[in-house]
């Protein structure tokens, strides 16, 4: 298609005027309201000894499980839509301790991150690690918060002392009443667990004779002594206990994700698992208008001649 000179001038004038109108629209059209789905969640970080094992992978780097949990929580907070609320909690012994109730993440990002940085094994107030009970307490406390947040429980699933497969700690609540996701951390191989002292400082590793290898109930039963003796003595080593976490997740009606790679995917799982709230935000269309205007302006200057469209008279 070859355009004559006056036509080209006319077309340029028209296109430029359209671009002009688009910019006027970009400047003066009011923002349109748009509904965004947001969620309230509490991130519970396991700070027990087994979390010091270095076998969590993030972007090709192997790091301590707790470092992974902190970094992944930070990235997840960063990716969540503004308006979402997040709180932080730690788990040690047999309970979760909420440090901060959910607050809006974009406005309070700085304070949340500062607090996240402070989370450390030294905060642990005891040296046991009862994951199931801690999950239950997290659920109980979440139930007291309004609006009810979902729980994102980051743990390797290592129970110490171990629990009997048929004597799982009883969950008193209704499964699914408080929603949540359990995020499994750690690798497949059994690795020695760094041992912390009363002050939370690492001093060597847990030895095979320093931990319980059978649960409290079975160990008191004389008639089970033979069976107990046959059990592998590996409780001083730790790996990600996927099947245990999955059982636990089923019990309380949570979703289970093992070592997620992408915070965005985790957010989707959290969103699917939680009761989302809709919040209306003002959405400015300026980018669309000015982008279109730019395209129009560029249209005028594209090298038509080189592709055989232009002409020359």
């Amino acid at each position: 298609m070859i355009l004559s000179y006056p036509r080209r001038i006319l077309l340029t004038a028209i296109v430029m005027s359209l671009a002009l109108l688009l910019i006027v629209a970009a400047l003066w059209l009011p923002p349109v309201p748009r509904d965004v789905k947001i969620m309230d969640s509490i991130f519970v970080l396991d700070i027990t000894d087994s979390m010091n094992v270095e076998d969590a992978e993030l972007d090709g780097e192997t790091m301590r499980r707790l470092a992974w949990a902190k970094e992944f929580t930070r990235q997840t907070l960063l990716e969540m839509p503004c308006g979402s609320h997040a709180g932080l909690a730690v788990f040690s012994e047999a309970r979760s301790l909420i440090l901060i109730n959910p607050i809006e993440i974009c406005k309070n990002y700085n304070d949340l991150i500062k607090m996240l940085d402070q989370i450390d094994p030294t905060m642990a107030w005891a040296r046991s690690s009862e994951v199931s009970k801690a999950t239950y307490t997290a659920i109980r406390q979440a139930d007291d918060i309004d609006p009810k947040p979902s729980i994102v429980f980051l743990t390797d699933g290592h129970e110490s002392p171990p629990i009997h497969e048929s004597l799982f700690p009883k969950f008193q609540g209704t499964p699914g009443d408080v929603k949540g996701v359990i995020v499994g951390i750690g690798g497949k191989d059994l690795l020695p667990i760094p041992k912390t002292n009363e002050q939370g400082e690492i001093e060597g590793f847990w030895e095979v004779n320093e931990v319980m290898h059978v649960d409290v109930y079975a160990s008191t039963r004389g008639d089970m002594a033979e069976r107990n003796a046959q059990k592998p003595r590996t409780e001083h080593l730790s790996s990600q206990k996927k099947s245990h976490l999955e059982t636990l997740a089923n019990r309380v009606g949570f979703d289970f994700v093992s070592s997620p790679k992408d915070p965005k995917k985790l957010i989707n799982r959290i969103r699917d698992a939680s009761d989302t709230r809709e919040v209306t935000i003002d959405y400015d269309l300026y980018a669309w208008f000015s982008g279109l205007a730019l395209l129009l302006v560029l249209l005028v200057f594209l090298p038509y001649r080189w592709i055989g469209l232009g002409d020359d008279n």
Partner: protein, 340 residues
């Protein structure tokens, strides 16, 4: 004034597009021999101007799309208030009912009991909410102390942290000395802004070793921190100060020892003994009244978008461009009509 930041700096890669108007001549007319044209300095300058304008339009639109903004900044001003580090005891004993009437009293009405934790949380929230300019920090303490909320002006954060402190059950062991030390350290790394306070809320004391005493004394006196202790009484009738009707049992109570030590400090110290809700509320109100001194307050100015500036530039450029092309179209059209 801080520098401009960009939400989508990848648009910068498209900036070379601004050269297009200088390379492409879609709007020029090809003629047989350019020497035939009379030399016209005016149209030369107009041509140059139009090309620059075209580049300007493209650049401005690209920059507008890159989302320019001035990041959130803090502006300092003088206000009235104080700085507080809150040390809220999370020990097990705080789960007990606050101000329980003695068992031998007749219940005249049905009472709803609240734990010491819930009561102290509620009043603390009210206290914080009532002090718009203050800066608060929060220390979590069990056997170890952690400064979970470094001093901040952010009210949402401190309120949410205090609320969290009211949830669930307490933890077995707490170390007040550690927490008091950490509170002083939190101030140490900050610039002086105004009255500095440490607010300890607990229902028990602790027996301090001599080294601990010396260290605390040095820290608090050097930094001149105000110390407030709201003591939630667990033994009925017991006071922190010795009285004539003292029971022998009370003499060695850790809370008394702690109180005696606090009194030896050469810093403003005040203890409030709360045995009832009214007393507790009064203590909080009293602190509230005392602490209105000049304080350097940092206020946040939210992030400001600067897109409009670039859109205006593009708009101005486009106005001239569109106008000049309409004008030349009219001219060309007239010329064509004459020739054909």
């Amino acid at each position: 004034m801080s520098a401009l930041s960009w939400t989508a700096p990848s648009f910068f890669y498209l900036l070379p597009l601004a050269l297009l108007p200088w390379l492409i001549h879609n709007q020029s007319k090809t003629i047989v021999w350019s020497k035939l044209l009379p030399v016209d300095p005016l149209s030369y300058w107009i041509n140059l101007l139009l090309k620059s304008l075209a580049s300007l339009i493209i650049i401005s639109l690209l920059l507008a799309l890159a989302g320019p903004y001035i990041p959130e900044q803090t502006v300092e001003r003088y206000g009235e208030g104080a700085e507080f580090v809150v040390l809220l005891d999370r020990s097990r004993s705080m789960d007990e009912i606050f101000a329980r009437p003695p068992l031998n009293t007749l219940r005249t009405e049905r009472q709803r009991f609240k734990s010491k934790r819930v009561v102290s949380t509620d009043y603390l929230l009210e206290f914080v909410e009532g002090r718009p300019d203050d800066r608060f920090g929060y220390v979590y303490f069990s056997t170890q102390s952690v400064e979970i909320l470094p001093l901040t002006y952010n009210k949402d954060a401190i309120l949410a942290t205090i609320r969290a402190g009211g949830l669930g059950k307490g933890i077995s062991k707490t170390d007040i000395v550690e927490a008091l030390q950490l509170a002083a350290k939190m101030y140490e790394k900050e610039a002086y802004r105004g009255s500095r306070n440490v607010l300890l809320i607990s229902d028990g004391g602790q027996i301090l070793s001599d080294t601990e005493k010396r260290r605390l004394k040095k820290m608090y006196e050097q930094m001149n921190l105000n110390l407030y202790w709201i003591y939630l009484r667990s033994v009925r009738g017991m006071t922190l100060d010795e009285t004539a009707e003292d029971s022998v049992l009370w003499e060695d109570l850790p809370e008394r020892k702690l109180h005696a030590f606090f009194k030896t400090l050469d810093v403003p110290y005040q203890a409030y003994e709360a045995g009832s809700l009214e007393e507790y509320a009064a203590a909080i109100a009293d602190i509230d009244q005392q602490q209105y001194q000049p304080l350097l307050v940092a206020e946040r100015v939210p992030k400001q978008s600067k897109t409009d500036v670039f859109l205006w530039a593009a708009l101005a450029g486009l106005l001239v461009w569109a106008a000049s092309f309409w004008l030349s179209y009219v001219g060309v059209w007239q010329a064509y009509r004459k020739t054909t």
